[in-house]
């Protein structure tokens, strides 16, 4: 999430992150753009961070703050797993993230999502917005690009989707956000987490589908319809 359109000195993951629960787990996704003011300092960043094999953190907000929260929670998660001799539950790690956000409310700017799979409750998505609220949801989105997605996800999400449908939903949502948000873009990263573990997928920047008034990459499908050029 970006404070505004004006330049900031610190790197911000002006970003789009989306997480969706489906029948057997969760599909999570993010764009790959990191910006310092207007400059794209990293066009291929990885905003999906594993907290454990089955629980993932989606990061938006201050790049430094979210990296640090992820590092702390991953450290606690490893120790917790050793003590329990089992995988940590999604809810536990989500609550840890929320507690760090809440305890340092004044200093951290992290709009986070924790999503994953565990044996107790299956696929789960938890929103952990700035301030440290914890709320379980069927799907959620955050980051500057999320403003362009509420309507789309409100109307397109279905209970009990298949894995393919959920991946399609997340990829399309990210592409729509990147199409309108200057702070989002680049390539799309998706991870599907289910009982079998986590599987990564990458959609390169020139294979992100174009939408209204955009041109596909050269050599690909025929042009999509758009508006006439605006002259004087």
């Amino acid at each position: 999430m970006e404070a505004s359109g004006h330049s900031d000195a610190a790197p911000h993951t002006g970003t789009t992150i989306v997480a969706v629960q489906y029948s057997d787990g969760v599909v999570i996704g993010a764009d790959s753009r990191v910006s310092t003011g207007r400059y794209v300092s990293n066009r291929a960043s990885d905003k999906l961070t594993p907290l454990s094999d089955f629980v993932w953190l989606l990061r938006s907000g201050s790049a430094a703050d979210t990296q640090l929260v992820g590092d702390y929670v991953r450290h606690y998660a490893e120790q917790h797993a050793m003590e329990l001799d089992r995988e940590p539950s999604v809810h536990t790690l989500a609550k840890l993230v929320a507690q760090i956000n809440y305890a340092n409310k004044a200093m951290l700017v992290g709009a986070l999502i924790v999503a994953g799979w565990d044996t107790a409750r299956g696929g789960q998505v938890y929103g952990v917005p700035v301030g440290g609220t914890l709320v379980r949801q069927r799907w959620t989105t955050d980051g500057s690009g999320s403003t362009y997605l509420w309507g789309y996800l409100d109307s397109e999400y279905r209970e009990g989707m298949s894995r393919a449908e959920a991946e399609e939903l997340v990829a399309t949502a990210l592409a729509l956000a990147a199409s309108r948000d200057g702070s989002s873009g680049g390539l799309l990263r998706l991870v599907t987490v289910s009982s079998g573990g986590a599987e990564r997928r990458l959609i390169p920047g020139d294979q992100v589908p174009p939408f209204w008034d955009e041109l596909p990459a050269p050599g690909k499908t025929p042009p999509v319809a758009g508006e006439a050029m605006v002259e004087a």
């Binding site: 961070t49 920047g205 006439a228």
Partner: protein, 285 residues
Amino acid sequence: MLPVPTSHSPALGPGCAGPSLAYASASTRSDIAPPSAQQPCCGSEPFMVDPSAAAGLGLRRHTDTPYVTGTSVLGITYKDGVMLAADTLGSYGSTKRYKSFERLAKVNDATVLGAGGELSDFQYIQTLLDELATEDYCADDGMQLTPREVYAYLSRVLYNRRNKFDPLWNSLVVGGLEGGVPFLGTVGMIGVHYTDKHIATGFGQMLARPLFRERHRPDMSEEEATELLHDALRVCYYRDKQTTNKFQIAKVTAEGVSVSEAFALETQWGYQAFVNPAANALGTW
């Protein structure tokens, strides 16, 4: 015979004397506006020393902060003339709002104008240049404004507006053929202006100019020039947030001015380093 307007153009904003062509004023109409406070009888526009005295007259300041903006404009000279390039995006803050906005405009058969910054001010500038071109047309002597004249005019307009703290919030690039010789100049919102063999505005200054310095030659062929512009546009697309993969190139040669159809560029995403960059350091990018 109606008087021909000669003195300060309304391009210079409120507070300048002289009638305007953009709208009918008293001196170009047969009836004359009634005199009132601050309104001279002769029909010329009010000349204000103190703009606050004009509060009741509806004079408006214009751009305090830009709303709909365009980003970089690139320009290079080559063997046959000049080429300008820009994307077709009108941004609204960080929203990519208008994706088919033409930021390169033909001024006349030898001149093309590109603009970044506030796009409503660019549309206003196009209106001013249209007025000048109409004057030329009515004079019917076969003369039209040369690129250098357009550049000089725009530099005066922008500088004078800056002096009134009411700038036209643009970075302009003027390109054309001046007596058969390629001409390229730029004018900024505070009136800074210069000419060069290659020009870049906005982020292009940081991203494209190094490429131009390394690869530009005034005797480049059209293919080399096009490839250089494509590479510069591609870098601007990768590294400037407010761009879209949809570009136009405007070309001025002895044959005239042409502004291309919008096109997209190929982009590279296949680097191995992009696949799993955090593999050895979880939580980094």
